[in-house]
Amino acid sequence: MAGGAPLLEVRDLRVEFPTRRGTLVAVDGVSLSIAPGEVLGVVGESGAGKSLTGAAVIGLIEPPGRIAGGQVLLAGRRIDDLPAEAMRRVRGKEIGAIFQDPLTSLDPLFTVGDQIVETIRTHLPVGDAEARRMAVDWLKAVGIPSPEARAAQYPHHFSGGMRQRVVIALALCANPKLVIADEPTTALDVSIQAQIIALLKRICREHGTAVMLVTHDMGVIAETADRVAVMYAGRIAEIGPVADVIKRPRHPYTVGLMGAIPSSTRRLERLTQIDGAMPRLNAIPPGCAFAPRCPEAVERCRRDRPGPAEIARLDGVPHAAACWVHAPPAGAAA
């Protein structure tokens, strides 16, 4: 993980939405990287900018939203400024995508087999018969029973869990190096959710595919990710190895978030409560965006915006937080 060149590098990404009442900054100065084969979880609550960060990487920000600053590099090549046609070739071939709702990401008018064949033939130099054989292999690999027969069926013949398996096959069939999975299990029942997470983990490990896993569910992250980035109000509050972030969170927002999750093994009388709500995009406070809700905020938090500062390093992987109190930059006092 450490040392080698990153597969994906996002530098100082900024996503804006121009409105009549001024510009809303939905993603503000996000920097992260993903190594080949690594699973990076991006976690946050609604409106934290996690999905937009994923959408920016695959070039699917819907207008009037736009990337207003920063760079996205895939294997060292800039992809955020590619023309639409070139970006379309990157999508699918080099970056696959899995979205929350498996029904809307499949075309209801084509059989499942045809959709996989189309994706394979668009991106790989193979003939129709070969593509069809590969499609059936993919359906089998994602655990769909009697794949030959199922390939001839339409999406509405499949249950929610089975559809999400098809979507995973579609995302991976052109052998991309990176998959963006945005809430891939949120629409599914708990027992199916566990199946899909296990499948996604296994199949990406087998193919050496890196994953950016966007979700609100810390449990999914804990089971799947190598590293996690915690987002708040369009910024990264904390990023680091998943076990360290979960067991020893430093940013007060992460601490509150972890305490707010009910446990199924240890019952507390009360859950940790972060009072208030995430600020609206048109009212992000100066300084640290979390300061108004933070129990430990000091004067400086309300004035200056903290940047990510390294607080620990585990097996060469840094754990960083953007917090004046718990992660003062080297050489500066809080």
Partner: protein, 331 residues
């Protein structure tokens, strides 16, 4: 022991889902047995949770419990009175004031054209609990404060509030009639975790201060563990296991309960492998014969495919379980 506040006996609710009018006229009927013979009792002051996956019938039980649906078979009693037999409107209204419901979607359950004060005052007016504008306004202000909003929020409209605040408004409305029993159908499923924590804390505080009894419906096992005193696990319209929350989570008996518990994501990162979870929930329109869980059950035998198991007391005396394998000592 004091009699339970709510008691369901053989409770069932079937829906006619015959697709075409012609089939209906020809007398063919396709029935969806959303709830098919469920027994449970809720003691005063406790939280009874129903947990299960989509389509298991837990929301239908919620609606039966407040009288929004009439049972197809069986009965549900509230404080000794059969909810479906109350033909006398005055008496049924008096009873209904004592049970209220909180819904999942705080965006759909509040009238967008009404001010919050009117939404919260509606049960007070409908039941004629207070007379005079002043008295009602005071009571509404008190209710809003009780759920963590400001009395002045009453002048605003629902769209001015976030999801968590809207759920607080729903709770204030539910409390307006001073009920004893609240049915909460996935009250935090649409909320972010930090907001969910606020609402769950509020619900626990209110339960303590007002002595409320909850029927708490959720698919989230960790939330159920946090909130419930006793838990019923539903699968395809039936209760497969009922037990005290600690017994159920520490010593689950039914294979489906075990499967569900295995699926809880492990936040402690102990690295315990999750059990292999096989199959999907079958269609409730054509449930498997015998025990509806048998196609996914690792312990299924011939008898399970043939004969539906009855709920029997757990060996430790703390609840019931409906499973042939448990009964035969194979589990």
């Amino acid at each position: 022991m004091t009699p339970p506040l709510v008691e369901a006996t053989g409770l069932a609710r079937w829906f006619d889902v015959t697709p075409s009018l012609w089939a209906r006229l020809a007398g063919e009927h396709r029935l969806l047995k959303a709830v098919d013979g469920v027994d449970f009792a809720i003691r005063r002051g406790e939280t009874f949770a129903l947990v299960g996956e989509s389509g298991c019938g837990k929301s239908t039980v919620a609606r039966l419990a407040v009288g929004l649906y009439a049972p197809t078979k069986g009965s549900i009693h509230f404080d000794g009175q059969d909810l479906s037999l109350l033909k006398d409107r005055r008496r049924s209204r008096a009873l209904r004031r004592r049970l209220q419901m909180i819904f999942q979607d705080p965006y759909a359950s509040l009238n967008p054209r009404w001010r919050v004060a009117d939404i919260v005052a509606e049960p007070i007016r409908a039941h004629g609990l207070l007379a005079g504008r002043r008295a009602i306004a005071d009571r509404v202000g008190e209710l809003l404060t009780q759920v963590g909003l400001a009395a002045s929020d009453g002048a605003r409209f629902p769209h001015e509030f976030s999801g968590g605040q809207r759920q607080r408004i729903s709770i204030a409305r539910a409390l307006a009639g001073a009920p004893e029993f609240l049915v909460c159908d996935e009250p935090t499923s649409a909320l972010d975790v930090s907001v969910q924590a606020q609402i769950l804390n509020l619900m626990k505080d209110l339960q303590r201060s007002l002595g409320l009894t909850y029927l708490f419906i959720s698919h989230n096992l960790a939330v159920v563990f946090h909130m419930a005193d006793r838990v019923g696990v539903m699968y395809l319209g039936r209760l497969v296991e009922v037990a005290d929350v600690d017994r159920l989570f520490r010593a689950p008996l039914h294979p489906y309960t075990r499967l569900l518990l295995d699926t809880i994501p492990d936040l402690s990162m102990s690295g315990k492998p999750r059990g292999p979870v096989a199959g999907e929930v079958p269609s409730p329109i054509a449930p498997p014969p015998g025990c509806a869980f048998h196609p996914r059950c690792p312990l299924a035998q011939d008898r399970c495919r043939r004969e539906a198991p009855l709920a029997r007391p757990r060996a430790d005396g703390g609840g019931t379980v409906a499973c042939h394998a448990v009964e035969e000592g194979r589990a």
